[in-house]
């Protein structure tokens, strides 16, 4: 008898739950139908990679660009612009499809990790516009946005070489991949161009979202005598900043520096009255995102094209926010090298093989 009571109770609860869920879904359905009917405007959304939208770096910069674009056209999150955050690789495809079904006109895939999935989706929905950042997809409805990160990395490499006192600097990469190798190559070339005797220690965390690993690697590098670390590892880099700030807090006289990436990471380096951010390699993903959104809105979407943003387009640069650290002398030198790159006197290497050649020829 008791059992029967139990069962009745749970059947009741379960059916109640289903009922509620059903009501809810009806509401939601009609709601989104209305929205589709009302708005005929051009909308855009993005899918982050696993770094997440608050990675203080590249995803965040993209979202800032999209928000900026939204502001110009009176959109806010959920109304005309949106992002879908991916927690792991398996989320990319559902996230892309989710945004497609919500009828966004232009969808950005942020990061080379989304390449395969975006390629598939673009083939399936050829009436939609897509854009991929940091990789190239050959499809008529996909714009490929790439940056000359090696040029910017070269410049911060020069700054690192000027700043180091131990003649040892470090590089922390996200995933060992052709893209991050561009950062590494440019950085090494920049450092060695100033002083070939400076040692560059290179480590990869194998993740863009593992601050714990970033912290351990940074800890090792600093204790091995490196005093400047350039990170190019998205969210992992927060661990690098963390370690540098910890060391700085314990010993404010110690000169250790971090070079940020993608955005000006000055704020990330603030600890008390000190700031450990020497400079940042700025990659204006926000500019590119805004740019492409506007072009698409105006009807000349650069589908099938490879858009390369570099020093020339002011989409790559370095930050001079930390005036105490990055002195006039350093800035002048970096500018000199920048001129040389712009004039074509230097061909900044992009791969490890090219770097080896470049360094040997110095």
């Amino acid at each position: 008898m008791k059992n029967r009571k139990f069962i009745t109770m749970f059947v009741l609860i379960l059916s109640l739950g289903t009922l509620l869920a059903a009501c809810g879904s009806d509401d939601k359905g009609s709601d989104s139908d209305n929205k589709d009917g009302d708005t005929e405007d051009f909308t855009a959304a993005m899918v982050t990679d696993i770094g997440g939208v608050d990675d203080k770096s590249f995803n965040q910069s993209s979202w800032e660009g999209l928000q900026e674009w939204g502001k110009e056209h009176g959109y806010s999150k959920g109304e005309g612009i949106d992002y879908a955050q991916s927690n792991d690789k398996a989320d990319y495809m559902p996230n892309l499809n989710r945004l497609i079904r919500e009828d966004y006109n232009l969808i950005f895939g942020i990061g080379f990790e989304l390449k395969e999935d975006l390629e598939k989706v673009a083939g399936q929905y050829d009436d939609k516009h897509f854009a991929i950042v940091d990789d190239e997809i050959d499809a008529p409805n996909v714009a490929s946005i790439m940056f000359k990160e090696h040029e910017g990395s070269f410049l911060v490499g020069v700054a690192a070489a000027m700043k180091t006192e131990t003649n040892k600097v470090g590089f922390v990469g996200g995933i060992d991949s052709p893209l991050i190798n561009k950062f590494e190559s440019g950085f090494i070339a920049g450092v060695k161009s100033v002083n070939p005797d400076i040692e560059v220690e290179v480590e990869y965390a194998e993740s863009f979202g593992a601050p714990d690993k970033g912290k351990i690697i940074a800890s090792n590098m600093y204790s091995n005598g490196a005093d400047v670390i350039y990170h190019s590892s998205g969210g992992t880099g927060n661990g690098v900043f963390n370690q540098a700030k910890d060391l700085k807090q314990n010993d404010p006289d110690r000169d250790i520096w971090v070079i940020g990436v993608d955005r000006d990471q000055y704020d990330e380096g603030q600890i008390g009255d000190d700031n450990v951010t020497l400079t940042s390699m700025i990659k204006r993903v926000d500019v590119a995102v805004e740019d492409v959104s506007n072009q698409a809105m105006d009807g000349d979407f650069p589908g099938g094209e490879l858009l390369e943003f570099g020093l020339k387009d002011d989409a790559i640069g370095f930050a001079t926010t930390n005036e105490e650290a990055i002195t006039e002398e350093i800035i002048d030198t970096v500018n000199e090298w920048e001129e040389k790159i712009l004039d074509g006197d230097i061909d900044v290497p992009q791969t490890r093989d090219e770097t080896k050649e470049f360094v040997d020829s110095l």
Partner: protein, 348 residues
């Protein structure tokens, strides 16, 4: 007996309900509408053909990893290594898919068998160490996960590709993907693997319940010393259990490699398929059919969760908390069992 059975069915159901209620309270506190949130969750998992297809796709590997953990648990072993076994299975399946050229009826089974074998080897090592040297399988399997992760990344970079992060697509003859299934589900990545997964669940049930091997495995799980006294070869059974568990997880990896992606990529961290498999096995009461149901629940929760931020404005972090709460309540099933029994006694 029947009340025991009833209770073991009730516990997971109550856990899920408690988890959902706790999630609703959290949503209320943080100023979101729980009904809207759960409606988005439901729509994200079963709203249309696409999400339904994706939910089934996501469920498929969970069934395998759930079985892998549940099977080992039946012999009293904690297989924390399903994660690594998934990865080696995935890698092996894609490797065969790329390297071999054969008609489908040879190629596909070969890829699946290789994946199962790779997973089995990954289960064999901790099984052997446990049986012969008494090394605790939890530690060994955890370490084996890391070995799998980093070896896999190295092999992808240096053997399967030239310094790239993703391999080429496997040959069509090894693929589980089906254009027909995709076309009826608006291009979801649903594939035939779900049939293999259900078949695997039946196999597990059959081995455990209907064969003398299964009887011995269970006996070892209940009482190692008594089994030995009864003349069973305990070492053999421990190893066998880990090998079969590893094979299940390896097949789970093959589902991703041959079905969902058709490729294997350098991974920055664990896939979590294996770790979630622990929760799936727990929720499913280490029973083959329970595992299938729990895997469906997990697949639906994970798939639907993605809809909550865009559909109802619930932040992703909150979704993770809600899912974690459900697992927490499942894990604390002992408390629910105690409460149920207490409730029962007082009722009498």
């Amino acid at each position: 007996m029947t009340t025991n059975r009833l209770i073991s069915i009730l516990i997971p159901i109550i856990s899920v309900i408690l988890g959902l209620i706790a999630g609703a309270i959290i949503m209320l506190i943080s100023g979101h509408n729980p009904i809207e949130g759960y409606a988005a969750l439901w729509n994200g998992a079963f709203g249309d053909q696409y999400t339904l297809g994706e939910t089934i796709r996501r469920t498929t590997p969970y069934i395998f990893t759930g079985l892998a953990v549940a099977f080992a648990f039946r012999s009293g072993l904690f297989n924390i290594g399903a994660e690594g076994q998934v990865m080696v299975g995935w890698l092996a399946a894609v490797w065969v898919g790329l390297a071999v050229d054969a008609p489908m009826y040879i190629h596909l089974p070969l890829a699946l068998i290789t994946a199962a074998a790779a997973g089995a080897v990954w289960g064999f090592v901790p099984g052997l160490l446990k049986a012969k040297l008494g090394v605790h399988e939890v530690i060994v399997t955890i370490m084996m996960n890391y070995i799998a992760l980093y070896s896999m990344n190295a092999i992808i970079r240096n053997v399967l590709t030239e310094k790239k992060t993703t391999t080429a697509e496997i040959h069509g003859s090894a693929s589980l993907a089906s254009e027909w299934l995709q076309s009826i589900t608006y291009f979801s990545r649903m594939h035939y693997g779900i049939l293999i997964a259900l078949f695997a669940a039946i196999i597990m049930w059959f081995i455990i319940q209907r064969t003398s091997i299964g009887y011995e495995l269970k006996a070892v799980g209940f009482n190692r010393h008594a089994s030995k006294y009864a003349g069973m070869n305990v070492s053999k059974n421990i190893i066998l259990s880990m090998v079969i568990a590893g094979a299940f997880a390896g097949l789970g990896g093959a589902m991703e490699g041959l079905g969902t992606y058709g490729t294997v990529s350098v991974m920055s961290g664990f896939t979590n398929l294996g770790f979630d498999g622990i929760a799936v096995a727990l929720l499913g009461g280490n029973n083959a059919f329970g595992v299938v149901l729990a895997a469906i629940l997990f697949g639906a929760l994970k798939e639907g969760a993605g809809q909550m931020p865009t559909g109802a404005g619930v932040p992703t972090e909150l979704v993770d908390i809600i899912i974690a709460l459900i697992i927490l309540f499942v894990a604390s099933s002992y408390i629910i069992r105690w409460a149920l029994l207490r409730f029962k006694k007082e009722g009498k």
